[in-house]
């Protein structure tokens, strides 16, 4: 085991998988000599050279489109989108091409790749350096969407994703890149399975499901709730698509109360999907409304970021609402 930051876990996973498989190549803006603007690829250009760590021109659709071609020809590209807010120029290549390639070719072709991208608020980035766009990709069959919250899961999931045959959107919670540290297994074959949630905290009164940096906000909220005698179970979804419904449903059937917490804007977000799944499959167990604690349905503001983002207190409010609800 080694202690590392979440960012360090990204770099370690990339290095290990590049050492393991010559077909793994990285491409993106500023990822070479500069090591990425967050330094996620620090040292990799020096170690693997120009052919495998490629600084590209400034065009996300070119990055993903090129990566699709590379994957079609047998490489395993791991493109970086510098901020997830800048993924939209690549949306067509992701939604129309990457996601559908295996299906539309009757299984003749596949495009395994991992699109890594830092996401989320809390770094005073305003509109265009703070968004949480995971729902757009979750609405797209054929994609896998992952959102780790710990260094261990980051390393293990990223490695699973690189080894997977499916195209993955790997959303890295940049707010906690450096602030969250943890022990991570050194075994180069340590992986975390795609599609499996993690019970981050066991509890019996209320289920809280979340992902990415919000898991830590929820943990703070759960601690506050404990002081008020409410025992919260936290599920870290880890993979959003395909979602681990089993773990979710098992928990809500036990607690009968659910809070879904997400940084993203609410309307048509992943929080809504999770709520809908429960309302369809376990409504008879529910003893309270299903509460979503999310970003507001406005663009992400700069100066008011601290009130825009769901705080532990706001999550706590949701927990208390469902805990005390009486039909």
């Amino acid at each position: 085991m080694s202690e590392m930051t979440l960012l360090g876990a990204v770099t370690t996973a990339l290095r290990e998988e590049m050492e393991r498989d010559d077909n793994v190549v990285l491409l993106g803006e500023d990822i070479g000599v500069n090591g990425g603007v967050f330094r996620a690829t620090e040292g990799l250009h020096a170690q693997f050279g120009d052919d495998r760590v490629i600084d590209t021109p400034l065009a996300e659709s070119g990055i993903v489109g090129t990566a699709v071609g590379m994957a079609l020809h047998g490489l395993k590209p791991v493109p970086e989108i510098q901020f997830s807010d800048f993924i939209f120029p690549a949306f067509d290549q992701i939604v129309s091409e990457l996601a559908k390639m295996r299906y539309r070719s009757g299984g003749e072709f596949q495009c395994p790749m991992v699109i890594r991208t830092p996401y989320g608020g809390g770094i005073r980035g305003g509109h265009y350096h703070s968004q949480s766009p995971e729902a757009y990709f979750c609405h797209t069959p054929g994609l896998v969407v992952c959102t780790p919250s710990t260094p261990e899961d980051t390393k293990g999931l990223l490695k699973s994703c690189i080894r997977s045959d499916d195209p993955v959107l790997f959303f890295e919670p940049k707010r906690i890149y450096r602030t969250v540290k943890g022990e991570v297994p050194d075994d180069p074959d340590f992986t975390v399975p795609i599609g499996k949630a993690r019970v981050a905290r066991a509890g019996s009164d209320v289920t809280v499901i979340s992902w990415g940096a919000m898991v830590h906000t929820c943990t703070d909220a759960a601690n506050l709730a404990a002081e008020e005698g409410i025992d919260v179970e936290i599920i870290d979804a880890r993979t959003l698509l395909p979602l681990d419904e089993e773990t979710l449903l098992e928990s809500v059937k036990k607690t009968g109360k659910l809070v879904v917490a997400s940084e993203a804007t609410r309307f048509c977000g992943v929080a809504s999907e999770i709520s809908a799944i429960v309302a369809e499959k376990a409504i008879e167990y529910m003893e309270a409304p299903i509460v979503r604690i999310t970003g507001f349905d406005t663009p992400f503001p700069y100066a008011l970021e601290h009130v825009y983002m769901p705080s532990p207190q706001r999550v706590l409010q949701g927990i208390k609402k469902v805990a005390t609800f009486d039909f």
């Binding site: 021109p57 659709s61 009757g106 003749e108 499916d166």
Partner: protein, 369 residues
């Protein structure tokens, strides 16, 4: 000099000795045969659509020289990333007409399992990647394929085909710009048939030619007579040779004319003059090549007729065979979304199975692509 139209074949089929590409008689006849077969396949496709047997078809009338001549300059293990309007490449690379029509029928033997519209082929064994509808996407993918070839040093090249309309796409810009920088072995082959559905090239770009766009990406560009199969072949051969030798990408523009409608849903009389159509009919690339073959004594009139008749028969037979095959299984709808079936799709498949397949909706067939 992009502005000079490269041409080899005279309109009367005459060729200057020094211009004649090094092609064996067999090669020349293969080129001709493939052009004729492509024409007949398209005629059959349109007929099947008019008969209501398939929902849609999209022909390449008039563009046979441009795409077949070009693809002929690549080796079989070079990769083709094409649009929906180069059917002749598959025939050239040994795909059977029946396999292609299986796709148009969307039947159980369709390689893409009936999932895409007609003419959206995928022929991995023939080195041809899956075709999609969105315009231009294959251009940057071709750039990526070539970039992978460069990294793998596998000695291959990629040719990506696209239309004049596609030069306006984001992926054209990205594909050429990235490849200018990477120097990957990619040939960008623009089939300029002068129309993007109803939009003429003058409304597509103010550039003097498509070929001249190459300079913006630091690569050579050549404007080639796209109805001259020998010029097309030779220009591509040189580009392939440069790419394979590590000298990087080339943009080729094949100037031609879409002699038919955009697709079975289109009516060109709404937007272009009949005179223009007759003018270009007179330049039919197959007739022009046949003039050459006759002049060279490689074929006589009877042989030409026989080749046409044989191709016709081939397509008729293929259509008959495809027509009777069953539809894909309903279960197959859930395959290939992911490498393995995830739980939620297993559940949805179960749900569909439980309906017993009797919940079908009516779909009406005609629509414009």
């Amino acid at each position: 000099m992009p502005e000079q139209l490269l041409s080899v074949l005279g309109t009367d089929g005459a060729v200057k000795k020094k211009d004649r590409p090094e092609l064996s008689d067999q090669d020349l006849l293969l080129l001709h045969g493939t052009m004729v077969r492509t024409r007949k396949l398209d005629e059959r496709g349109m007929l099947l659509q008019r008969q209501g047997r398939i929902g849609f078809y999209l022909p390449a009338f008039g563009e046979e020289a441009a795409h077949i001549g070009s693809a002929f300059a690549a080796e079989q293990d070079d990769v083709i990333a094409q649009s929906y309007r180069q059917p002749g490449i598959a025939l050239l690379r040994g795909v059977s007409a029946e396999t292609m029509l299986d796709n148009c029928f969307g039947n159980a033997e369709d390689i893409v399992k009936g999932r895409q519209m007609p003419v959206h082929y995928s022929f991995k064994d023939a080195g041809m990647i899956s075709i999609s509808s969105p315009i231009g996407t294959q251009i940057v993918q071709g750039a990526g394929i070539a970039h992978a070839m460069k990294i793998k040093r596998d000695g291959r090249v990629c040719i990506t085909f696209f239309g004049d309309g596609a030069t306006s796409s984001n992926d054209f810009h990205c594909g050429l710009n990235f490849t200018g920088v990477s120097d990957a072995p990619c040939i960008f082959a623009c089939i300029n048939n002068q129309w993007a559905i109803s939009v003429p090239i003058a409304k597509q770009t103010a550039s003097r030619s498509m070929a001249s766009k190459a300079a913006a990406y630091g690569m050579p560009g050549y404007l080639v007579d796209g109805n001259d199969v020998l010029a097309v072949y030779e220009a591509t051969r040189q580009a392939v040779e440069r790419a394979r030798s590590g000298f990087g990408p080339t943009l080729l523009e094949f100037l031609t004319f879409r002699m038919g409608p955009h697709s079975s849903s289109d009516d060109p009389s709404r937007y272009r003059p009949a005179e223009l159509e007759s003018e270009w009919e007179a330049k039919d690339p197959i007739e022009r090549f046949e003039a050459f073959l006759l002049r060279e004594g490689l074929l006589d009139e009877d042989a030409v007729k026989a080749i046409h008749a044989e191709a016709e028969a081939e397509m008729s037979k293929a259509a008959k065979a495809s027509m009777v095959k069953p539809a894909p299984s309903i279960d197959s709808m859930f395959d290939d979304v992911y490498a393995e079936l995830p739980a939620h799709l297993a559940e949805q498949r179960e749900q569909l199975r439980s309906e017993g397949g009797d919940h079908a909706v009516d779909a009406d067939a005609a629509f414009p692509l």
